[in-house]
């Protein structure tokens, strides 16, 4: 099994930050790499360390949703939402991050790769030349997050109509159904049988 030390040694300067978690023998690994090295890293991992199985590629928008979770009591005054962006494992400095998972199909060791996507350019290199399977994943990420993949042959929409405006999985894209009609899950607070000091709420 390739350890994190081995991976960082092979990737060299491209690694920004890494993270490991899990019990002995079942460790999961996160590595954040430089945006400019995104494609190169995939190639290196595949050729040198045998990470030849492409699992998935997607993105995360780390901005807290300005609309909340839509579960508050609609009659009460809304609590202000903290707009600070906090990235997850292996850190980061931008609102959008792409992340992908590669697996070594012989050792079965999986690896989550992350890379920052610059807020102003929203562009990162495409992986299609390295893993043909990245094609559809990048198309999906493009339409859902508005991230461009330089070198992708055909970034057409997969799901939405061609003239759809907006990127649904961005946090600032409102889920209209929730806004026009509050979700009853939390609002309908009824006491449980047996009483007790319930904090209220549905199961």
């Amino acid at each position: 099994m390739s350890s994190l030390a081995e991976i960082t040694a092979v990737l060299g300067d491209a690694v920004e930050e890494s993270f490991e978690k899990g019990p002995e023998g079942n460790v999961d690994t996160w590595v954040r790499v430089k945006t400019s090295a995104w494609r190169e890293v995939a190639e290196t991992l595949r050729e040198k360390l045998g990470y030849d199985y492409f699992c998935f590629l997607s993105a995360i928008d780390w901005m807290p949703s300005p609309y909340g979770r839509g579960e508050e009591d609609p009659t009460a005054e809304r609590e202000p939402i903290d707009p600070t962006i906090r990235q997850g494992y292996a850190g980061g400095s931008t609102r959008m991050q792409v992340f992908a998972r590669l697996v070594n199909h012989r050792t079965h060791h999986g690896l989550t790769l992350k890379a920052d996507v610059p807020d102003d350019a929203m562009t990162i290199d495409s992986w299609v030349g390295v893993f043909a399977g990245a094609n559809w994943h990048e198309r999906e990420t493009h339409e859902m997050f508005g991230i461009n993949f330089a070198g992708h042959p055909d970034l057409r929409n997969m799901y939405l109509p061609t003239d759809f405006e907006g990127h649904p999985l961005r946090k600032d894209f409102p889920l209209l159904a929730r806004i026009v009609k509050p979700w009853p899950g939390i609002v309908d607070v009824e006491p449980l049988p047996g009483g007790g000091d319930d904090e209220g709420g549905a199961e």
């Binding site: 978690k21 023998g25 079942n26 999961d28 996160w30 030849d52 199985y53 492409f54 699992c55 998935f56 997607s58 995360i60 928008d61 807290p64 949703s65 979770r69 839509g70 579960e71 906090r86 997850g88 494992y89 992340f99 998972r101 199909h105 079965h108 999986g110 989550t112 893993f131 043909a132 399977g133 094609n135 559809w136 994943h137 859902m144 057409r156 929409n157 997969m158 799901y159 939405l160 109509p161 061609t162 003239d163 759809f164 649904p168 999985l169 894209f173 889920l175 929730r178 979700w183 899950g185 939390i186 904090e199 709420g201 199961e203």
Partner: protein
């Protein structure tokens, strides 16, 4: 809106096809064939646009999105226990199996583990989902290749398995039975004996299908050597499940991954086939249904006693962190990348469904095949529309 989308798509196809001039001497005229969205061979509403030259496919492209329900967005406004009701509907033929990886991811983040009995029952129900799901595939396979009998057998015998799932969970198709920390209920009285009887029945069903289809000359002629996926291409596209093992890659997440489930507690076999063609993929699925019946029986033999629910707070807050858990679902690798910010619900859930990757190979695979083989190849890849679009 859709009209505009379609027109642009057709213009795109035309421009692609113009490049691919074959048979220049014969001056044959190309044709664009639209298969679906409503077609008996597509398990839902998958549309395939194929550019043909005579009987040969020059270019083909699946058009998805007819069933996109935006589950990844919806999970962001649900609490953790509520998410299972949504993800039940991703692969609707093997619903229980969809719930398991998500619940495992939440449990991993919370640092809890279900009690042994719950792990065993989870694994049993997981395998029952596989039997119900893949036995329908085996029946449908016949219909798609022109044999009508297998589908009657499949619907007849799958019913017994669905009855078992209903008996244990209360839901035939959407159990919504898995909870963070364990299961909703224990097994009902008499269920175990009934399950053993049904497993014997399902093995008989496998024998029948094997005799009907796999020994059949026409079936072999239509599947052998059709839609061959080499090993390295399968890995590049991230194929999983029987599609990957059909290309000779010996990889099964049930065996090759440490999860708090019961698969590693018993002996069973992972089936692979070196050919990589449609026949290999179908053959592996048949063997896997049969293997699953043995897995269920062995797990029933060793079923531990005890509670089925760990101690969890009534209001579930998942600590901040990220977790990736994938399991070997009936269709292949199904995984959830869960990001929690320590709130009642997830911050982001990436759903990695098996069919999305499995079907993304179609444009590559259909290039150059003949029209009747389109259906064979699609059938052998085996996808569920809800699992592609999510």
């Amino acid at each position: 809106m859709t009209m505009l989308g379609d027109r642009q798509q057709l213009a795109y196809i035309a421009s692609q096809a113009a490049d691919a001039r074959v048979n220049v001497e014969l001056e044959t005229e190309g044709m664009t064939l639209n298969i679906g969205p409503q077609h008996p061979a597509t398990h839902g509403t998958l549309r395939i646009i194929a550019r043909l030259d005579g009987e040969q496919v020059l270019w083909a492209e699946p058009s998805c999105g007819y069933m996109h329900r935006g589950y990844e967005k919806l999970t962001e406004v649900r609490t953790f226990p509520q998410v299972t009701a949504l993800i039940n509907r991703i692969d609707w033929l093997g619903s229980f199996a969809n719930e398991v990886p998500f619940i495992l991811a939440a449990e991993q983040l919370m640092g809890i583990e279900a009690p042994p009995r719950a792990q065993w029952i989870r694994t049993i129900l997981f395998e029952l989902s596989r039997i119900a799901n893949v036995s329908l595939f085996l029946g449908d396979l016949g219909v798609q290749l022109g044999a009508i009998t297998p589908v009657f057998f499949a619907f007849r015998d799958r019913e017994y398995v669905l009855n078992l799932i209903e008996g244990a969970t209360g839901g035939r198709f959407h159990p919504n039975f898995d909870r963070i920390g364990g299961l909703k209920d224990d097994l009902p009285a008499g269920w175990i004996d009934e399950t053993r009887a049904v497993m014997r029945k399902m093995r008989k069903f496998c024998d029948e299908i094997e005799g009907l289809l796999f020994g059949n000359e026409i079936f072999e002629a239509r599947t052998r050597g059709i839609g061959v996926i080499p090993r390295d291409v399968a890995l590049q596209y991230g194929l999983s499940g029987a599609n990957l093992r059909g290309s000779g890659v010996d990889w099964d997440l049930r065996r090759d991954q440490k999860l708090p489930m019961a698969w590693d507690k018993i002996d069973w076999k992972v089936w692979t086939h070196p050919d990589g063609d449609s026949y290999a993929r179908c053959w592996i699925r048949l063997q896997e249904v049969r293997e699953s019946t043995f897995i269920v029986e062995k797990l029933l033999d060793s079923l531990p006693s005890g509670p089925v629910m760990a101690k969890v707070p009534r209001i579930i807050k998942v600590p901040e962190g990220e977790a990736w858990v994938a399991t070997e679902n009936p269709l292949g690798e199904m995984g959830y990348y869960v990001v929690s910010k320590g709130e009642l619900g997830p911050f982001r859930v990436k759903i990695r469904s098996a069919s999305f990757n499995n079907i993304s190979i179609v444009p590559w695979l259909l290039k150059g095949v003949y029209v009747p083989d389109i259906i064979t190849i699609l059938a052998s890849l085996y996808f569920i529309l809800g699992d592609i679009d999510r």
